[in-house]
Symmetry: C2
Subunit: 349 residues, 2 copies
């Protein structure tokens, strides 16, 4: 994912709206038999199915959700797709199609949009989803991307946020906090660059963190892994706003409480070392950092043997009665009430 | 659709993102049995179906697609839904669900968004569609709305742009050009207001034009009307960018030519009188104006008897061989090549 910095300068208005859409989507091949008609008509047409349809949408805005000074456009395109696929997988489904709408100011060239669509295409190819529609228009300022993902799941397989039961185990995939720390590293390097543009940053010790921030991968594998293990989660959600905020969604929609154990929260060694360097509390980062795009789910305690020891999963706590509240049990065995301090896209600047 | 100008000033950050979504969507009721789960989980869940699924999306941006100085937010919400439903009807389908994502700068209050959502809700109620998801975030400048509409059609009923055959009749619903002229009237009144804010405009003679611009209605009725008439169009498209641009899409995708007869293009009397007043050519306005949200379709000449004389439809021409080109036959019986001079969202300002 290396961008050509020596970009050409083809003005978007030279192609016009339809020319532009055709140009950007010409190399996208339809991969799913369920996609009857993709880009090019009033609406996409998807084949009838015995499965339920899943629909989710997310909006990414320059200056709010990303900073192009360290987010290459190809990565932005890839990430915009991941954010949405993650929501489909969080329903225990398979993603099949996306629509992508973009608005760009006239500072963007055709070559810039080609880089963006190269990232979208790489995501589509890797995750076997079809681009089936969208809209392309101009904006007064900056770039924004609105993606809608469409998926499928057997009726009995769909997992909601609301199904957690008392004594259920709370499980997360992968590890947490790295994407947020990657952002902190990139922000710091931006500051350094602004003071001394000749400084060559040495980012070797942060490679995992930066990759998690710039090229997150949605957990397409988890629904399949769970089927193999013959485990159907009782509830599931993706971790986009931080573990704390997500577990609170599950508990409030399930009308339950929870206990999360600080020493069980999975952290990558780079998260631990970088937290020490930045003088940050790694538990707080995992709880509130966001953008991990891991899955958080609950399983019956009867499934303990199937889940424990699986390298993809960490059991981090359990569901309690609602009146027990939502609590973190610290390493010192103290109980602290969980607070949602995750990302708030509407906070005052 | 009268807005309370004496709006309250509740800051959006007081509610936070999830509080805001809950607040804005609390009075939306699910109307379609196919909507299993709407707002409130990672993705919406739609029931399995023997029908094909239709998906379409459009993005509306302040300063590009609308001007809030004469577009009340309630109307904007309504129109954003119409633009998308129109695309579903243009596939000969029924719209069932929408997702709505918005980004707003901090100049917008909670009361402003309530007005926007009141328009969205009115559209949902009137057109029997369910709001099933979306995203709400902040923008650096202005407001934008991204809507995705989802619909259904029996497999054999879907009508593409590409099916027009030689000798097919070209038909439009309703009348054309009024929405564009409505915009011209509103733009003129804005100029007058800027010079003299005490001037009270008399807009009685433009009511239809202004309504077509500010509160367009998608042609939900047309697929049903065609079924009653036992007519299946060979091709169909909605008229959002002007008749000329749309007929050219049909012809190029069907690899055909066409003849459109100037004297057959349906015009409302207000279009004719206002074109005279503004010194505009009414045919040019109908061909290039856009935002009519009428349907343009082709039917076999065998269906002539079923369509002719129907007050909803006007037969305006016929499909020819591709090498005949795309032409307008004027009242003076001259043939002029059609040009797409419709609205281009990517034009340089």
């Amino acid at each position: 994912m290396i961008e050509d910095k020596n970009q050409g300068r083809t003005s978007l208005s030279e192609l016009g709206e339809f020319g532009l859409i055709n140009h950007l989507t010409q190399y996208f091949k339809i991969k799913n038999p369920a996609t009857v008609k993709g880009v090019g008509d009033d609406a996409a047409v998807l084949e009838a199915s015995e499965k339920q349809t899943l629909v989710t949408t997310d909006l990414l805005i320059e200056g709010v959700h990303f900073d192009l000074s360290y987010m290459p456009l190809k990565h932005l395109g890839y990430k915009a797709v991941m954010v949405n696929l993650s929501d489909v997988y969080a329903m225990n489904g398979e993603a099949e199609q996306i629509t992508v709408s973009i608005a760009v100011s006239n500072r963007f060239t055709l070559e810039a949009l080609e880089a963006l669509y190269a990232g979208i295409q790489l995501a589509c190819d890797t995750y076997k989803v079809d681009l089936v529609g969208g809209d392309t228009t101009s904006s007064n300022k900056g770039i924004l991307i609105s993606v809608t993902a469409i998926g499928k799941a057997n009726k009995g397989d769909v997992v909601y946020r609301s199904g957690a039961k008392e004594t259920d185990l709370i499980v997360v995939s992968g590890d947490l906090g790295a994407a947020y720390l990657g952002l902190q590293v990139l922000e710091r390097e931006k500051q350094v660059f602004q003071v001394n543009p000749n400084n060559q940053p040495d980012l070797d010790q942060y490679t995992y963190l930066i990759e998690r921030q710039l090229k997150p991968e949605a957990r397409k594998d988890v629904p399949g892994l769970l089927k193999e293990l013959e485990v159907k989660p009782t509830s599931m959600i993706d971790i986009s706003d931080g573990l704390s905020s997500e577990i609170m969604h599950v508990c409030s929609q399930s009308k339950k409480g929870c206990k999360i154990y600080e020493d069980k929260i999975p952290l990558d060694p780079q998260v631990i070392s970088t937290c020490e360097e930045f003088n940050l509390d790694s538990t707080m980062i995992a709880l509130s950092g966001g953008e991990d795009y891991e899955l958080l789910f609950t399983v019956s305690i009867d499934d303990f043997e199937k889940v424990k020891g699986n390298p993809n999963f960490s059991i981090i706590g359990h569901i309690t009665a609602e009146d027990q509240g939502m609590n973190l049990v610290t390493r010192a065995n103290q109980e602290i009430e969980l607070k949602a301090q995750g990302w708030n896209a509407l906070k005052e600047e």
